[in-house]
Symmetry: C3
Subunit: 338 residues, 3 copies
């Protein structure tokens, strides 16, 4: 694909392109690569300063750049075609789709799948080998359930949702449209509810449901439990990474991001657009306001106000945490006066 | 179900009920709900102060309360039938069973299951589609193994135990009676044992076994390894949440609770009734005494005495940790003298 | 097996043995056990001081010891045959193989496996019940894929590699020779890549691949993602424990060890022989030098130089961390001057 063809097909508003001054510089692109690994014929991108020196060294034939005249000039001088945008990474992601399409299973129901006769299966679905679908399940149109997935009774799965291999969706869960559940994830299992008694822990029945709204993504081997009563709910467009634990009754707003190994205790509420870094933990019943950010490994023990950034354990405003850590490094090591 | 009928069927000793003074206040209950979400016809409960204000607002028709005359009076005045007990949450859990029964697979062996002829299968079992049971396995009476579970050779599974979908039970593991293994959990896999040599890591064979005593529950995608020699043992009635790692050779006492994402290194010993909060880590060979508690994210690097509560990293008595954190916040940020 | 027979078959250079002075002391060994659990007829070992007192009490009939004349003399006096070596644990591991062989599935392809006709399957493989192998997969000689494993298209699996039950290997992944992937692990799933837009998170296609070199071991329910472009690579002989998350684009050197629940964010680079303790987290794009060690729960936020040991959050040299923690404990709790 010619560089000029590609630039015409990308949807993001672009600021400028080398084609304006060098229409002859229109290389054939054969693939896409990171800037430090790109070979001739590759399209690559640069955002921020992490790989800044590679503008002088990359062998890429095309680049997606930000509005940085200096970098643009260097690229032109090196005979690299470029396109400039306010969002290089987004344009790169869109360009990727022109070179790579993920593998999709053919729309068919494998003969080894075990599907209860009361299940209602939409048109155009792909149901892989050894999938098990129990009674009263509703599967929307164009859904893809990969090999060995298990769907317990009365689950609803919205149109165009994909379940990768070996997922388990527990009874009564409601999965929205255009969701992606990655391999090994478990949705809607019994919440961890026990009451202490003289004879040990008494199990609280978990009669609630887990609801995933549309465009939710859940990472490999993550677990999202259902509550004793009511709902666990994951808001529209929220993205959850691998090995994340969302306990019973959590209410997660739309467009949140939970990075790998995050753990939410029971009944946590996240506002819209909350971002929790890797291995962050949140204690039960806490509320994290809209747009708040917790950096990796933060241990959240109190409510977090909207728009704030917190760090450390116990989590506190990131600036305070950094100040404390700096002060701690400067402590004298002399013996204390008693 | 009438409120009065329900109260007669609950097993916990109750202190008082509105029926004693208002036998006419006997609503029909149609469901059960959290107090902040309850609608007319719902039974709910209140314990502690978290939802205290809802006594004035809840639309529940019945309430389980503690011995708090003020709340009881408010409920009565609002025409809400109530029952008082020292353990509202326990009574609520019992009441739930009158409104909700978890789905159970029918007792039958699915024709797609692959069961080795030397396996011994008890009466009344439910073995789901695509389950695989290897040689010399013993499955007790009334056991339920959900779809796609895999049982390696020589495993023993006690009566009335449930394995949810996609579990794996490795060779020679012994699972007690009335256990619940949730979806995706892996029991008895090889411990992580390697010895450094000049040619890399030499794998230590893992000849031991994993033993789960009766009434143990293991959460989704949790992993409990077997040791090189001897046993990994989980005591009776211990409850383990999702994504927990229990390494080779751990000895966990009865009635412990391990909350989500806890990690135990090799050969850790927990006494009876130990409670480890979410994401707690324990270093290898440590001993945690009976009834000790570690709050969430604690990193335990030394033995913990029975009955103590520890926090932080490295874990220390919770009071000391709180004191240290308070002192840290008050440190001056002036430049240090050199 | 006689003690003398066993010692002749062990490959590690030994320093000394009781047979040199007491050839008559040649017990029949019937098993192998930890020194604190050994019964008559057992072979055991002692390394370091953790179980030092057991030299006086163990009922083992044979011992593997270090070059410690005192312990050797005590053992001889107690009529325990012994062999001394610089690496008792390694010799113990080798001895274990003479008493225990892990269960292996017979080399056969189960009739319930679903194997695409374009897959190429090597000689001597074992493919268990309900395994699913998609198009263009290459499976080497002697490979064992246990029950319910799923292999997406175009995967390559090297000779003699074992996949335990319920693993998922995603499209285009390359698994080397003699690898072990434990139950429930997911290799090569889509990396967690999203770009913020006004309409929510835009998914970055994940066109890259995950590569595991030879002799890599991956623990139960661990997840190793593939990147948007390029490779995620795990070096030869690296050992990864249970519930570990390796994000897209990480480059892990040979002979590393990642203990349970470690989490690596995107594009982390580990040099050769790096050891990360349990629950360690590493932020994205960081480089950890050859031979560096991070103790359990460390949160690594900056590059780590080769050969250093780091601890705490944010991770710093272990000695500095310990000094800071000691200073923190000594802080006065008086009220601060305002």
């Amino acid at each position: 694909m010619k560089f000029s063809e590609l630039t015409q097909q990308l949807g993001v508003a672009t600021i400028d392109t080398s084609l304006a001054i060098r229409p002859d510089l229109d290389p054939a692109l054969v693939g896409i690569a990171a800037i430090d690994q790109a070979a001739t014929g590759a399209l690559s991108f640069m955002e921020g300063d992490r790989f800044a020196q590679w503008i002088h060294n990359t062998e890429a034939s095309g680049l997606i750049l930000s509005s940085d005249p200096e970098r643009q000039a260097i690229a032109t001088a090196r005979n690299i075609a470029w396109i400039a945008t306010a969002q290089p990474r987004l344009l790169f992601a869109q360009a990727l789709s022109h070179f790579y399409q993920p593998w999709q299973a053919a729309p068919a129901i494998d003969t080894t799948a075990v599907i209860h006769p009361t299940a209602r299966i939409g048109a155009g679905v792909s149901i892989g080998p050894h999938v098990v679908i129990h009674e009263q399940v509703q599967v929307g149109e164009g859904v893809c359930i990969h090999a060995n997935g298990v769907v317990y009774p009365e689950v609803q799965i919205g149109d165009l949702t994909t379940l990768h291999a070996n997922c388990v969706i527990h009874e009564r869960s409601q999965i929205g449209k255009n969701c992606v559940i990655h391999s090994g994830a478990v949705i809607g299992a019994e919440g961890f509810g026990f009451v202490p008694t003289d004879n040990g822990w008494y199990k609280v029945p978990q009669s609630g449901v887990t609801v995933l709204e549309d465009q939710v993504e859940v990472g490999c081997n993550s677990t999202i439990d259902r509550p004793a009563v009511g709902e666990t709910r994951i808001g529209q467009g929220t993205k959850i990474d691998n090995l994340v634990q969302v306990a019973h009754g959590c209410q997660i707003g739309p467009h949140c991001v939970l990075v790998g190994q995050v753990g939410l205790a029971g009944h946590v509420e996240l506002g819209a657009g909350v971002v929790l870094g890797g291995q962050v933990g949140v204690a039960d019943y806490l509320q994290i306001g809209e747009g708040a950010i917790a950096t990796a490994q933060a241990g959240i023990t109190k409510n977090v106000a909207a728009g704030t950034m917190v760090s450390g354990f116990p989590a506190m405003p990131t600036k305070l945490w950094l100040k404390m850590m700096a002060a701690l490094r400067k402590l004298p090591v002399s013996k204390p006066k008693i």
